[in-house]
Amino acid sequence: MAAEIKIAQLVTKADYKSDQVVKWCAGCGDFAILSAVQSALAESQVRKEDVVFVSGIGCSSRFPYYINTYGFHGLHGRGAAIASGIKIANPKLDVWHITGDGDSMAIGGNHFIHLVRRNIDMNVILFNNKIYGLTKGQYSPTTPRGSITKSSPDGTIENPFKPGELVMGAQGTFFARVVDTEPKRMKEVFLEASKHRGTSVVEVLQNCVIFNNRIHNEITGKEVRDDHQIHLEHGKPMIFGKEKNKGLVLRDSRLDVVTIGKNGITEKDILIHDAHNPDDTTHYMLVRMTLPEYPVATGVIRFCECTGTYNAELELQIEKAKANPEVKSLQELIEKNSFLVE
C-alpha cells in the first residue's frame, strides 16, 4: 500500500532533518549513516508521514530523535518487538528499525531472530561498532575474540556472532553489509532494502571513535579497502581488488579466492552473484568470509522474496475471515448459546 501512495510534492532530504541537536561524538560513524538514510528516504519518494523509525537503546538508538519522521525510542533490545507491533497494527506504514550490535545481538537477540523468521516487512539497520558505546566500552556479542575491553581486561573468550550468519540461520530473506565510510553505497543499499518485501537487515560496519576506534580499518581503510572488501551486486561476477583482478570461485562446498589471469583463471570462471537464489547456501558462505583468507563481502548479499511476509499473510487471513464471518456481529457472538428468561 505504502508504495501506491505517490506524492506530488517533492520531499527533500531536509524534510527528514529533525529539530533536535544531534548528540553523537564528533567523528562518530553514526552521522554518515543518518545522512545516508535521509538521502535514501528523500529518494524513495515514500509518503513522509508513513515513515516510522523505531529503535532500542544505545548511541545508535538515539537515531529516531534526529530524523523527522514518526519515531519511537524504545527499550534496550526491544525495538524489533515494538516495530513488529507497529507494522502488524498498520501495515501501510514504512517501518525502519535502528539497532546496535548490543541492542540486537545481546539483549535483543531473540526478538531479532524471530523478526527475521517471521519476515515482517521492515528494514533493520544494525550499527555494528562491535562495542557497547553508550555504556562506555564493554565488549558486545560481535566483538572479536581476544579483544581487551573494559569488561574483558584479559581478552574476550567468546566467539562473536556474525550478524549475517545469524540472519541465515534464522531464514532471513534479505541481508546486506555496508561500511560507514561509503555514503553513496550506503544510500543505495538502504534503497534496495526498502524495496524488499520482508525483513531486510543491513549491517553497517560503524566506527566508534571513542571506544573502538579503527575497529573496521582493515576493511574500510583507503589503502586496503579494495583488496579487503568485495562489493557484491546481483548478476555481476564476484570480482574485487585494486586491480579488479581477484575473484571468487566455488570449489565443492567452499569459496576460493583466485587471481584472474593466473593458473588459467579467466573472468568466466568467476562466480556470478545470485542474491535472489532462494537457497541461501552460497549467501551463507559469503557472509562468513573474513580476513585474511577472504575479502569481506559488502553490498546486498541476499535479496529474496521466496516466502510471504507475516503482515501480508495476516491481512489476507483477516480479509478472508471478514468476507466469510462466522458471526456477523459481536452481538451475535455473545448471544450464542443464550436463553431468554422472562
Partner: protein, 615 residues
C-alpha cells in the same frame, strides 16, 4: 415424557462435583450439565480444577481432574464449599475429594475401577469402600465402565473411544437425579461432535440415556431432586467463563472506540485461553500476535498502540514480572495499553493451575522508578466482560496502561451472564487530534491531564516519543531536574484523576455497622455469600468489594469511617490490607488471609466474621 421417580424433593441449591482421570472428560461433562441447568433456568457457578501435568499417571491422585458445579433456585455466587453429590470415576477421584463433600452426600462411583490395583495407585492401603471411609454416605456403586462399553458395543468404536463414553453414563445418572431434561444434554453432544464425528455423537448420546435409565432402576436413587428456575431474573443469559468474558469485553471496547483490537501475548496458564479465543476473531479485525516471549508480547503491543490500535497483552504472574520494564515504557510514553494478569499461585512457577491474589503489589509497584498506572480487578467470571471493557475505555481515554487483574478461579470458573446490548455500552473516545493541527505530544487536557494522540500516517504530526524523561508539552528528551519532578507528578496525578470516571464504592448491606468486610477481585462470590448469611442471622456487617484499585473510589474513606471494624480478606498474605494502610492510614485493618491455591470457603469466612463480631 420420562417416568417420574418415586419421590421428588424440591431444593434451593445443590453442589455437584465431577471427578475422574485427566482423560475422563470431567470438564466436558461438567460444562454439559452446567449448560443444561442454565437452560433449565437455574442460577449457577462452576469451577474446574485440574493438575498442572497434562495427563498425570492414570489412577493417581495427582492425575485427578475435577469440575464443581453449584446450581440454584436462588442466586448462586460460588461453586460451593462442599459437594452434595460426588461422581468419582476411580479411587483416586474419591481420595482427592472426600474432604470436599458434605456429610451424608451421595457418592456415585464407577465400581469397575475400584479394584486392588486402583486402590493402591490412589494411595489407599485398603479398599476404601470397606474401611469406613464412606460410612455415612449414600454410595451408589454403578458398573459404569462396563455398562458404557456394552451400550456402544455394536457401534464399532475403538476400545479407547468406547471407554471414554463413561462420563456420559455418570452424567445420565445425574440427569435422572436432578430431573433434568436429556434433550439439552443431547444437544450439547450434537454441538460438540455433531457433523464432524457423528459416530461419537451417537455413542455419547446413547450412553447418556443408558446412564439415565440405569439410575431410574437403582434403589439408592429413588429420591430425586428438583431445583426450580430462579425467579427474580429477566433477560438474555448465558453461561460464561472469565477468560471468555475478558476476551469479549476487549472486543467490545475496540468496537465502541472504533479501533482495531491487537493482542500481543505469550501462552501461559491460566491466561492462554484469552489468546486462543481472540485468535478466532479475525472476522472482527482482531489481530493476535503470539510472540516469542512475554517481553516481545507487551513491546509489540506498545508498538501497536503507538500505531493506533487498542493494544492488549495477556499473561499470568511470572509473565507480568517479565513485563515490568515495558509497562514503565507505556507509563512514560503515555500510551493506552491493557495488561491482563490472570493471577495464579506463586512465587516463581509456584502453583500454575491454582488461583491466588498475590500479584497485587506487583501490579502496583513492580517496575523501576515512580511508574503509576491504573489497576482494576474483575470480581466474577461474568463481570470480566465489564472490567475488560472498562480497562480498554480507561486506557484509551486516559492514555495510560491499565492492569486488569483476574485469577485462575475467575478465568476458568463460570456463571450466568446477563448479556448486554453492545450498542448500549458507553462510548469510548480516545483523545485523537486532527491532521495538521498544532501538535505538541505532551500537551494535556487541563482537566484530565491526558495528552492527545497523533497516529503515524497522520499528516503534519510527525513526532518522536521514547523511554527517556520527556520535557513537559514538547515531549523532547529532558534532563532538567524540575521538569522531571513535574512529569513524575503529572503522571501520578493523571492516574489519580481517573477517579472522576469511576463509580463510587457501594457496600452490600447497610451503610453503617459493626464490621465492614473488605475484599477485592475474585473473592467476591465467597465473601458476598458469607456476608449475606451473616446478615440473615441479623449481624450488622456489610461487604465492600473493590474493583477499582488504583485509583480507589472517591468515597472509600467515607465508607470505611461508617463501620466500627474493618477486615480485609484476601487470598494472599495481606497485600490489599497493606495498600489500604498506605493510602488510608487513618483506619485500622484486621486481616483474613488464605494462601492455599484455593478460594475461600463460605463457612470459614462466616466463622471468622462471627468471631470478630463477638469479640
Amino acid at each position: 415424557m420420562l417416568k417420574k421417580p418415586n419421590k421428588v424433593i424440591e431444593v434451593d441449591a445443590v453442589v455437584v462435583k465431577f471427578a475422574g482421570d485427566s482423560g475422563d472428560g470431567m470438564q466436558l461433562s461438567g460444562s454439559q450439565f452446567s449448560d443444561t441447568s442454565a437452560f433449565a433456568g437455574n442460577d449457577l457457578a462452576t469451577f474446574p480444577d485440574f493438575p498442572s501435568e497434562i495427563r498425570a499417571p492414570q489412577g493417581t491422585v495427582a492425575g485427578v481432574s475435577g469440575f464443581q458445579l453449584h446450581i440454584g433456585h436462588k442466586e448462586v455466587d460460588t461453586p460451593g464449599d462442599l459437594a452434595d453429590v460426588l461422581i468419582a470415576l476411580n479411587p483416586a477421584a474419591l481420595k482427592a475429594n472426600m474432604k470436599w463433600v458434605k456429610n451424608g452426600a451421595t457418592i456415585i462411583i464407577d465400581i469397575d475401577n475400584f479394584d486392588n490395583k486402583y486402590y493402591k495407585k490412589a494411595g489407599y492401603i485398603e479398599d476404601p469402600l470397606g474401611d469406613g471411609t464412606v460410612d455415612g454416605y449414600n454410595v451408589v456403586k454403578a458398573p459404569i465402565s462396563q455398562l458404557s462399553k456394552s451400550t456402544v458395543k455394536d457401534l464399532g468404536l475403538d476400545a479407547k473411544s468406547a471407554e471414554r463414553t463413561k462420563n456420559q453414563f455418570a452424567l445420565g445418572m445425574l440427569y435422572w437425579l436432578f430431573n433434568k431434561d436429556l434433550k439439552y444434554g443431547e444437544e450439547f453432544i450434537e454441538n460438540k461432535f455433531g457433523s464432524k464425528k457423528p459416530l461419537l455423537a451417537e455413542a455419547n448420546k446413547r450412553v447418556l440415556r443408558s446412564g439415565y435409565n440405569y439410575a431410574e432402576t437403582v434403589e439408592a436413587l429413588r429420591t430425586t431432586y428438583q431445583i426450580n428456575p430462579i425467579k427474580d431474573r429477566k433477560g438474555l443469559f448465558r453461561n460464561i467463563t472469565g477468560n471468555i468474558a475478558t476476551s469479549w469485553g476487549l472486543i467490545a471496547a475496540a468496537e465502541r472506540a472504533g479501533l482495531e483490537l491487537y493482542l500481543g501475548s505469550y501462552p501461559i496458564t491460566p491466561a492462554t485461553e484469552i489468546l486462543q479465543e481472540l485468535a478466532k476473531m479475525k472476522h472482527f479485525g482482531v489481530k493476535t500476535f503470539q510472540a516469542e516471549d512475554e517481553i516481545a508480547g507487551i513491546n509489540s503491543s506498545i508498538g501497536a498502540s503507538f500505531a493506533g490500535d487498542l493494544a492488549v497483552t495477556t499473561t499470568s504472574g511470572p509473565g507480568l514480572a517479565l513485563k515490568g520494564e515495558a509497562i514503565g515504557l507505556a507509563v512514560i510514553t503515555e500510551l493506552p495499553l491493557v495488561i491482563v494478569d490472570v493471577q495464579r499461585g506463586g512465587p516463581a512457577t509456584g502453583l500454575p493451575t491454582k488461583p491466588e491474589q498475590a500479584d497485587l503489589m506487583q501490579a502496583l509497584f513492580g517496575r523501576n522508578g515512580e511508574s503509576p498506572c491504573v489497576v482494576i480487578a474483575a470480581s466474577t467470571p461474568a463481570n470480566c466482560f465489564h472490567y475488560a471493557f472498562m480497562a480498554g475505555k480507561i486506557a484509551l481515554e486516559h492514555m495510560t496502561p491499565v492492569i486488569m487483574l483476574t485469577d485462575g478461579y475467575l478465568a476458568n470458573g463460570s456463571e450466568l451472564w446477563n448479556i448486554p446490548k453492545i450498542k448500549d455500552l458507553p462510548e469510548i473516545k480516545p483523545p485523537f487530534v486532527k491532521d495538521n493541527s498544532d501538535y505538541q505530544p505532551y500537551e494535556r487536557n487541563p482537566e484530565t491531564l491526558v495528552r492527545s494522540w497523533a497516529l503515524p500516517g497522520q499528516e503534519g504530526m510527525r513526532h518522536r516519543i521514547g523511554g527517556l524523561e520527556k520535557e513537559d508539552i514538547t515531549g523532547n528528551v529532558s534532563h532538567n531536574p524540575l521538569n522531571h519532578e513535574k512529569m513524575v507528578g503529572l503522571r501520578e496525578e493523571k492516574v489519580q484523576r481517573v477517579v472522576n470516571c469511576i463509580p463510587e464504592l457501594k457496600v452490600s448491606g447497610e451503610d453503617r455497622g459493626d464490621l465492614l468486610v473488605v475484599g477485592w477481585g475474585g473473592s467476591y462470590g465467597a465473601l458476598i455469600s458469607a456476608v449475606k448469611d451473616c446478615q440473615a442471622e441479623g449481624k450488622k456487617l456489610s461487604l465492600a468489594q473493590f474493583n477499582y484499585i488504583k485509583p480507589m473510589p472517591k468515597n472509600t474513606a467515607e465508607v470505611f469511617s461508617r463501620f466500627s471494624k474493618i477486615i480485609v480478606c484476601e487470598l494472599n498474605m495481606g497485600q490489599f490490607a497493606n495498600y489500604l494502610r498506605m493510602t488510608f492510614p487513618e483506619f485500622k485493618y484486621l486481616q483474613h488471609n488464605k494462601i492455599q491455591g484455593l478460594p475461600f470457603m463460605i463457612s470459614e469466612l462466616k466463622e471468622k466474621f462471627n468471631q470478630i463480631l463477638e469479640a
